[in-house]
Subunit: 209 residues, 2 copies
């Protein structure tokens, strides 16, 4: 196997440093030191810190895309099992990382969006991809009768993305995964399991009596 190039080292080690310290908090010096490459390497390979930021977002998204394929897009599993697996995958990552780093996309959204329009646009398209996968799975759940006919997959997909991002953010603050657990409980126990939405043809007088 070929040894990783300086460029690859800067990307893989830099991603970890930015995930821990934040994009503003991690200096080029921090990134170079973590990668163990000479100071000049950074500017040789990246036009700017912003250009580097866009590349680590793509690198991180490559692993997210794998998760999407294995869960939300995995037609061999029942839709609601896939949705649960997707949320568990996020929850599991938080636990592995000691509830410290949160989601790179969420961190970038909090800090880097307002001073870099290219980063904002990249995040918008990344969240768009995740929303597409969630909508695909929720539509399959509706088609399979696992969700009520009144559920709007697009709206619920948007809600899941922001709910999960918020829960991961609070997990960092509280150093506890209670916020993610609460989100899961309310998502599966209340939002997606309304018996009245599963029975759209139930005569109104029976549910409102």
């Amino acid at each position: 196997m070929a040894k990783p190039s300086n460029r690859e080292k800067i990307l893989t080690e830099g991603l970890k440093v930015v995930h821990q310290l934040g994009f503003g908090g991690a200096s080029v010096r921090d990134i170079i030191q973590a990668a163990g490459v000479p100071q000049g390497s950074f500017t040789n390979h990246f036009e700017s810190k912003e250009a580097f930021g866009l590349e680590i977002l793509d690198l991180y998204f490559a692993s997210t895309r794998e998760t999407l394929e294995q869960t939300l897009y995995n037609d061999s599993l029942p839709p609601m099992v896939r949705l649960r697996a997707y949320i568990d995958a996020n929850h599991g990552r938080l636990n592995r990382e000691g509830m410290e780093n949160g989601c790179l996309f969420g961190n970038f959204s909090g800090e880097a969006v307002d001073h870099s329009e290219p980063i904002r646009q990249r995040l918008q398209s990344i969240f768009g991809e995740i929303r597409k996968a969630l909508t695909y799975c929720l539509t399959a759940a509706k088609d399979a009768g696992e969700l009520g006919a009144a559920i709007n997959p697009d709206s619920v997909a948007e809600f899941i993305i922001s709910g999960l991002q918020g829960a991961m953010l609070l997990t960092k603050v509280q150093r506890s995964d209670v916020p993610v657990e609460r989100f899961e409980q309310i998502l599966f126990g209340l939002v997606l399991s309304r018996p009245d939405l599963l029975q759209p043809h139930l005569p109104p007088q029976l549910t409102t009596a």
Copy 2:
């Protein structure tokens, strides 16, 4: 009225700059320039950037506390009206700021929590205060029969905090308040309005038939 001191100028103008650029993104130089005070003033008044960060969190929370008093703690209004008013107050702020800056607490959670334990603890206590206010209001709603008996105010309070934080984060990315709208729709339309929970004595065969 007394003219604001350099210390006050650094806090009020610095808060705006940090809200726009992020805590890592805003340098002491940016803060000093926005406040229009001499370079040395910052170190005269603040031991460190972290100490300054803690003070602007308190300053921002002072205005949050007013909102909590006017909405969630306002016993002159029906509980669910107060809850709606609290969420509208957050939504309204996003609109006034052109969906750009998000919530200072959320931004700090995303970037500053992992390299400052005092900031993490301050945020934890701030979110604790907001959770207390939400729990107070949701308990009042339950007592007034506005919410189903099976609703757990504590869990739902945690869920509202993280859901709203996530929606405000996505609002920054999308430059659109659709995520906050979705959150409101699902919170009021699905999470808090289960007809089966509002009618705990409805015979089970009618809702599960």
